[in-house]
């Protein structure tokens, strides 16, 4: 026989929070320790951000917090008030972001589950570094797992997105 040790209930009762997602201020009621991921998915119905590991190991839940890529599975709700959150749904209204255009052009996704996180990491990379080298891409993207093995196309698409950003056109 084995026993699973009980975890102490933190008595975390739902509280009212105001967070800013994709430029809109939204009211949510949840325990302060609720990860941003589940606020987005369950409370706000924004399911483009994915649950992969719950421990910031896979990158599927990547969103931007004040422009920087973060793993929303490991960011408590209480820490994001007053900060600017951008999700895949807010990257562009019409898939027109350079990264999305490059992803479509090169047909990057396979199953697609990790791709929101990949795209958010790539978009943040290009924001900070408009002409990344392969080594820059390796560093920025190493936290985003893909089991289908879309990595070669991801790398290609980031270079392509950089080109789109530079020329302002799709070639």
């Amino acid at each position: 026989m084995m026993q699973t040790a009980p975890v102490q209930d933190t008595q975390a009762r739902p509280q009212a929070f105001k967070i800013t997602v994709n430029g809109r201020e939204l009211a949510v009621e949840a325990a302060a320790d609720t990860p941003l991921l589940w606020i987005l998915r369950d409370h706000l119905g924004m399911t483009g951000t994915k649950f992969g590991c719950g421990r910031a190991l896979c990158g599927a839940c990547t969103v931007h917090l004040d422009g920087a890529p973060v793993r929303s599975c490991s960011i408590p709700l209480s820490t994001v008030q007053g900060r600017m959150i951008t999700t895949i749904e807010g990257l562009s209204p019409d898939r027109s972001h350079a990264v999305q255009r490059a992803w479509i052009e090169l047909d990057v996704p396979q199953c697609g589950y990790c791709q929101s996180g990949q795209i958010m990491s790539a978009a943040a990379l290009l924001e900070a570094n408009p002409a990344p080298s392969d080594a820059d891409i390796d560093t920025a993207m190493s936290g985003n797992l893909c089991r289908c093995g879309t990595y070669p196309r991801i790398r290609h698409a980031i270079h392509r997105a950089a080109e789109i950003l530079k020329t302002g056109t799709g070639r």
């Binding site: 026993q3 009980p6 739902p14 589940w38 924004m46 562009s92 199953c111 791709q115 390796d138």
Partner: protein, 738 residues
């Protein structure tokens, strides 16, 4: 998924026959349209109408299965009967239909098929996405469906114009007459639906294909770049609650008692219930359910696996390997006698570990159980099994369960199992509301249906420099015996590639001993091709070196009668620069080669590595593929590359270990899979071929480990006969520096 015939695949694809025609009045179809239904021979007509998921109303209560709907508004909807899990069926199958229907691919709207007998995959014996055979199955079936629809649309137009049908042609969604007049398919659909379907239709010759063979964009890409694609985990229903599941840490264990007092009082919690799957906590939100689950005090009955560990599993397999040859899967000549009389014999034993599928989307299921029925929303590779499993859990008839197949966030064979369905159904029934049950990554990794371990015992004999005898004894659990019983004789899914061992050796024996290990094992991408190709292609390398021959030349000389094998082998040697790579020295690159036929696809791979101070670096993988006719080479390429990366993860790091019946790897920190920054250069060359389409989702996985290990032997003289590679190389490097 079970491989070449694991689920009783017929030797040839059955001819598609149209033996029935359903007439639908305009009111019965959405927008008044045309529905083409085909019945496959051997598939009964007993399943419930495909009304709901397909949207094909069946007011008359007739059995109707369909792939195609043309609305009066010119919308063309295709019902895809295979699950999209990244392999591209939501693009490849529509391409087959669109080719004959004379429409552009962008005109097609996709819906997932409901459960239905017409959607049975004859190659798999069920409505199953697996065995890499979706295109093989659809190749004639969907082109025929498209051609029949085109024929009646033309006939309807000819009637309207009072001219002969031969004067009309279909083009880009319209029927055109010689005078330049035209009508759209939508305008013709209602009239066309009243015409008899042609008994036989001529399919286009490959030379006139507009779409097939072209690298067209995937239809599922746009939704996958803006977050709108709906996976099972994304399903939203009005009033839906969320559930987490506590499962026995020991595999196969059960709940002995549970104290849910604390959990039950936590915010948002609706109910705690004990099921055969474990303890389910239902709450308003998933985080609440998860927190409450962690507050449960569960006492588990560990059951039979309380002392199970890897050492014990290995002992079981080794004992079975030592206790006789088992069942014969292939016997050419007399391998035993030939081994006895051989001038020189070699013997080696290869071992493979348990592996986890680790799909990026953890297992999940959403159920909405009502007294009279159930809607099930699930990313599954087995619609019928999902339906019957949910029905049993709900206490309903299978016909009362509608299965809505979502996109799958990775399948790899994991979603051929349905172990995550019953608890969701029971929870929904208990609370009287829709419930979405999600496994955490830890739940997923510690309660997988693992790729089974295997021992492969090989022997070979030479007379002079001629290879005269080859014997392979495979010892492994049988997945098919658990999932699709009964298995008569040898489980086909454990002897893949071994039974079609291609080399010209007069005496060949392949035997199988089934040895169960106490836990559930499952089909994983490339199934037994992976262990068998590892053992066969590494042992071929051993034999080449023993014979003093170049491993490529040694193979090539034994493939005189196998032109497709020989072609890919020669092409990969050429592409990789075999024999021309600078060898030796500290910075030297070394190559290893492997060959395989699987899913009727022929492939060869070369791995290029260097080993410096014991540390392995994989520089390059070159893969040449002859998969017969390709529907979409851009998707084929992605699958071959993806399979190679999947194979790299498994070969380098993949290993699930068990202690006290508990899986030790719980997340991606301990179960390492390849990251983008760890990628070698990957080159894929797709050969033109007129052969029938072969499978592309799985086969490339299997060649990675043998190509790598053969390259490591070339670099170090050290033969690795077990996986994963990386820990062995790390130990060697440590010894080197010590």
């Amino acid at each position: 998924m079970s491989g070449s015939g694991g689920l009783r695949a017929p030797a040839t694809a059955p001819a598609v026959q149209v033996n029935r025609r359903e007439f639908l009045d305009a009111a019965a179809t959405l927008g008044g349209g045309l529905i083409i239904g085909l019945s496959l021979p051997g598939c009964g007509a007993k399943s419930p109408p495909a009304a709901d998921a397909a949207g094909s109303a069946d007011a008359g209560g007739r059995d109707l299965n369909a792939w195609l709907r043309i609305g009066a508004d010119d919308t063309i909807t295709m019902i895809v009967d295979r699950s999209e899990m990244g392999q591209g069926v939501y693009t490849a199958l529509p391409m087959l239909l669109a080719e004959e229907l004379e429409i552009g691919l962008d005109a097609v709207k996709i819906v997932a098929a409901p459960v239905g007998d017409a959607y049975v995959n004859p190659g798999n014996g069920g409505q199953i996405t697996g065995t890499s055979n979706s295109v093989q199955d659809a190749w004639d079936k969907l082109r025929t469906a498209g051609a029949q629809a085109r024929t009646v649309l033309i006939a309807a137009a000819a009637q309207a114009w009072r001219i002969d049908a031969v004067e009309c042609r279909a083009q880009n969604g319209r029927v055109v007459n010689p005078q330049g007049g035209s009508m759209t398919y939508g305008e013709l659909a209602a009239a066309a639906a009243k015409l008899p379907l042609p008994k036989s239709v001529a399919l286009k010759a490959p030379g006139s294909f507009r779409l097939l063979g072209r690298p067209l964009p995937r239809l599922d890409t746009p939704g996958k770049v803006d977050g709108s694609a709906e996976f099972g985990i994304d399903v939203k229903l009005p009033g839906m609650l969320h559930a987490a599941l506590a499962q026995s840490p020991v595999l196969g264990g059960s709940v002995k008692s549970v104290d849910s007092a604390a959990a039950g009082k936590m915010a948002g919690v609706h109910q705690v219930l004990v099921t055969a799957s474990g303890v389910v906590v239902v709450a308003d939100h998933f985080w609440q359910a998860l927190r409450a689950r962690d507050a449960l005090q569960v006492t588990w009955e560990s059951g039979a696996n309380a002392t199970l560990d890897n050492g014990g599993i290995r002992k079981l397999l080794r004992k079975a390997a030592a206790s006789g040859p088992g069942l014969s899967a292939r016997a050419d000549g007399d391998a035993t006698a030939a081994l006895k009389s051989a001038h020189r014999t070699l013997r080696a034993m290869y071992e493979l570990p348990l592996l986890a599928h680790a799909t990026m989307e953890p297992m999940n299921c959403t159920a909405d159980v009502r007294p009279d029925g159930c809607d099930l929303y699930v990313g599954t590779q087995v619609q019928q099994v999902s339906q019957s499993t949910a029905a049993m859990a709900a206490g309903l008839l299978p016909s009362q369960v509608n299965v809505h197949t979502t996109l799958l966030g990775g399948g790899f064979g994991r979603r051929l199992d349905v172990d995550f369905i019953p608890a969701a159904v029971q929870a929904s029934k208990a609370v009287g509301a829709p419930v979405k049950l999600i496994w955490t990554r830890e739940d997923d990794m510690t309660h997988d249906t693992y790729r089974p371990p295997a021992i492969l015992d090989l022997a070979a004999g030479f007379d002079g420099d001629r290879l005269t005898a080859w014997r392979l004894h495979i010892v492994s659990p049988s997945i098919t015996a658990r999932m699709f019983p009964p298995v008569k004789g040898v489980d086909d899914s454990v002897i893949e590639y071994a039974v079609n061992f291609p080399y010209d050796v007069p005496n060949v024996a392949v035997d199988y001993s089934r040895q169960e290990i106490g836990i559930d094992v499952g089909y994983m991408r490339s199934v037994s091709h992976a262990p068998n190709c590892f053992a066969i292609e590494c042992f071929m390398d051993e034999l080449a070196h023993a014979a003093g021959k170049d491993p490529y030349e040694f193979r090539r000389q034994l493939l005189e009668k196998k032109p497709r094998h020989r072609r890919v082998l020669e092409a990969v040697a050429e592409r990789a620069g075999w024999g021309r790579t600078p060898q030796g020295g500290q910075q030297g690159r070394h190559q290893g080669i492997a060959l395989m036929e699987g899913y009727t696809t022929h492939l060869a791979q070369v791995a290029e590595v260097s080993v410096h101070a014991g540390a392995l670096k994989v520089h390059r993988i070159v893969c040449v593929v002859d998969c017969g006719r390709m529907v979409n080479p851009r998707i084929v390429e992605s699958q071959i590359v993806g399979g190679i990366i999947f194979g790299l993860s498994a070969a380098l790091w993949g290993e699930v270990t068990i202690a006290g019946g508990v899986v030790q790897q719980t997340n991606f920190d301990a179960y390492r899979v390849m990251r983008g920054n760890e990628l070698p250069q990957i080159e894929v060359q797709l050969l033109d071929s007129d052969a029938p389409p072969g499978g592309i989702g799985e086969p490339s996985v299997a060649l990675v480990a043998p190509a790598l290990c053969n390259a490591i032997f070339a670099a170090t003289g050290r033969r690795l006969r077990s996986l994963p590679i990386s820990p062995q190389m790390t130990r060697a490097a440590a010894a080197h520096s010590a």
